[in-house]
Amino acid sequence: MSCILETQGLCKAFGAVTAAKDVNVRIRPGEVVGVIGSNGAGKTTFINMVTGYLKPSSGQVLFNGQSIIGRTPRAITRLGMARSFQVAQLFPQLSVMDNLLIAVAAAQNPFPSLLAPMRTAARVALADAMLAQFDIARWRDTQVTAVPQGVRKLIDIAMALIGEPQMLLLDEPTSGVSAEEKTALMDTVMRVVAERRVTVLFVEHDMDVVRRYVSRILAFYSGEVLADGVPEQVLANPRVQEFVTGSQKVHQRVAL
């Protein structure tokens, strides 16, 4: 089965620090993959390289068989890979609707028109549909600065999705969101993602969130992929437990 995203021997060094070492990953269309690892393990570096924010020191990244090394984030987005951000990257002074409209207009035309209005009935309908899917329609005309954190994260993801990407990378979608809201947020996101049939890769620290939604886990440690497989397998892996989830240590302490 063909891969939507494939990395081959991906490496990244910042001077003496190796942030990524020989990362080989193959993601098939429709998968929901969780990326876990402690801080500094190389997860964000991996995402940044794949989305074009960082240039790898060596290795290859293929999106639908096409090499995307050296391409700008802009070009990669237009190829069909979108991302969301750990800290929601929105347009603060504009309304939620305007934020989405800009995302739609941006996706529809690489060279924006100089006179034709951005706010057309068709685009508004698309934005309204997205707002409804995410269940945040009541914030439609509110300025983003007045919108709560959880909703901001949803807008961030909505803006990435409205361009109808084939693949979506989520960078810690539940970070900054309170524990009670995490499940609700991820339920919403994963429902929309499933409805739109988008391949998803998300970086996450919360193991409960990971276990609930993914069909596959990539565990990072010290710049390398420690384990890659179905959740039951990866989470039971003793090395993963030692370096990532730490569940083994907890059990030891309890035993005492």
């Binding site: 305007d98 690489p110 209005p117």
Partner: protein, 314 residues
């Protein structure tokens, strides 16, 4: 092309203004013409402010427009108003297309200082150029339009009506631009440039188009100023002149396309009286007013800068 309510109001006001010119005293017509010419330059400044860039060198294109008009009349014997303005705008567009390649690489302080540097380069060149009259500049010849020459004493009124008409068209176009995808993309860039990139747009391309368009609009103002004042000099490119445009832009705010027009007129009227009453305190008044605007003026000014401040701190 259907016009919406705002545009209809703009055109209506323009019509009233033109009609008012028929009965207004000569000095007022003259003052308003120059104010409207300056307001076009301010529109150029505002276009860039909406994209989050403050230019301290818009005088460059103001001067290019003015000198292109003056020199075409002087050296090429062209007197047709429309042709002169086309030349002025064309020259500015060519220069902006060149400089824009460099300018769009920078933001904030460096953009401001680089724009200042380029306008001062032109100033330096003109001041040292004896062929162009050095610091004195030179006079601009009388204009005609498609063969028709205004009679003695009629020229100021004729020019006033023409400039009001041009401003009306400009207002409608800028109103559309501000609500177009490109215009909104400028605002998005101001708010969060990185996100714009990740939405598949090129911020540099958008800013480049914006920069060139702003230069064209400003040069139009410079051309009209040359024709109205009948005189051009290097002062047009001096950084204090550019500072004045920034002041008027801040006075009016960036929220509405009519603001620079109104602010420029208010500025011109206040200045006329202030210079007469307190010639040696005029700058001080300007300074205090500017500080007051910055401290007390709501939204219009904040939205310009809070987006950037947040980016700079991140």
């Amino acid at each position: 092309m259907r016009l919406n309510r705002t545009e209809l109001i703009l055109l209506g006001v323009a019509l009233l203004l033109a009609a008012g010119g028929l009965i207004a005293p000569q000095w007022l017509v003259f003052l308003l013409t120059m104010a409207l010419a300056k307001s076009m330059v301010v529109q150029g400044v505002v276009m860039q402010m909406r994209a989050g860039l403050v230019t301290f060198g818009q005088g460059l294109y103001f001067c290019v427009g003015g000198y292109a008009v003056g020199m075409s009349g002087h050296f090429l014997d062209i007197s047709d108003l429309a042709l002169l303005l086309v030349i002025g705008v064309g020259a500015a567009v060519l220069l902006a297309m060149l400089l824009g390649l460099l300018m769009t690489r920078y933001r904030e302080i460096f953009f401001a200082m680089l724009s200042l540097a380029f306008s001062m380069i032109l100033y330096g060149v003109l001041v040292k150029s004896s062929a162009l009259g050095s610091t004195d500049g030179f006079n601009v010849k009388a204009w005609s339009l498609f063969g028709w020459s205004p009679a003695q004493g009629q020229a100021p009124l004729a020019l006033f009506i023409i400039i009001v008409g041009v401003c009306a068209v400009l207002a409608v176009l800028l109103h559309r631009y501000s609500r177009s995808s490109a215009g909104m993309m400028c605002e998005a860039i101001r708010e969060n440039e990185v996100r714009v990139e990740y939405l598949g747009q090129s911020p540099r391309w958008v800013l480049y188009m914006n920069y060139v368009a702003a230069a064209a609009v400003s040069a139009l103002g410079g051309g009209f100023m040359a024709l109205s004042a009948g005189h051009i000099d290097p002062e047009m490119a001096y950084w204090i002149t550019s500072g004045e445009f920034v002041f008027i832009a801040l006075l009016g705010g960036t929220a509405h396309v009519a603001a620079p027009f109104i602010a420029a007129i208010v500025f011109a009227v206040v200045r006329t009286y202030a210079i007469e009453l307190v010639p040696h305190s005029w700058q001080m008044i300007l300074g205090f007013t500017l500080l007051a605007i910055i401290v007390f003026l709501p939204k219009g000014l904040w939205s310009l800068f809070t987006g950037q401040a947040r980016r700079a701190k991140a």
